[in-house]
């Protein structure tokens, strides 16, 4: 049986207020984008993982990057850090993560901070996909 044009046409994503609110809240508070969509376990696991990773990075004396236009790695470091949203804002306000990288563990701390931000960006994208109905 031949497919009609409507069969082959991809369904457009459902745009709603939630598709804007969930990613925004999820960026500001890691995991909250899932929590407001009633994905309780996923949201809590994401929140615990990302927040713990960020706090461990701070505890290891990791470096937090400021907005800059210099070295490409510094710019990318800033992009990663800012992905952590509210955690980044709080750490900037409290002047945390300003120590010089003095030993190998501090370098791990810096990577923890950047990756926590990048993981939060993945979490934000996932919250968006749930909001538009692309993912259950």
């Amino acid at each position: 049986m031949a497919n009609t044009p409507t069969d082959t046409k991809a369904t457009p994503p459902q745009t709603s207020a939630m598709s804007v609110i969930a990613p925004a809240i999820g960026w500001l508070i890691p995991g909250a984008g899932h929590l407001i969509q009633r994905r309780w376990i996923r949201g809590l696991l994401l929140m615990v993982s990302i927040v713990t990773m960020f706090l461990l990075g701070l505890a290891m004396q990791g470096h937090i990057y400021h907005p800059n236009g210099g070295d490409i790695l510094d710019i990318l470091g800033f992009v990663g850090d800012v992905g952590a949203g509210g955690l980044y804002v709080i750490s900037q306000a409290m002047d945390w993560g300003q120590g010089a990288i003095a030993h190998a563990v501090s370098d791990y701390g810096t990577k923890y901070l950047i990756v926590a931000g990048l993981l939060n960006l993945i979490s934000v994208a996932d919250a968006y996909h749930i909001a538009i109905g692309k993912k259950p």
């Binding site: 994401l46 505890a59 701390g109 990577k111 923890y112 993981l119 993945i122 259950p136």
Partner: protein
């Protein structure tokens, strides 16, 4: 506060958190999420051991 972790424990903790996020975000059903999270964790930790042995061989 100054947390001092060994290289190995820092790498394993990193693997735990990254695997949880990858598992949840990259798969749809709960079963697939657990399986993919465990798969990522094994790859991360396996990569640590492989890199460790590679560096040991290069150093000799």
């Amino acid at each position: 506060m100054n947390l001092q972790l060994s290289h190995f424990s820092a790498a394993v903790l990193f693997a735990v958190f990254a695997s949880v996020v990858f598992g949840i975000t990259q798969r749809s059903t709960s079963r697939e999420q657990i399986r993919y999270g465990l798969y990522c964790f094994v790859l991360f930790v396996g990569g640590v051991f492989l890199a460790g042995w590679a560096m040991w061989l290069l150093r000799r």
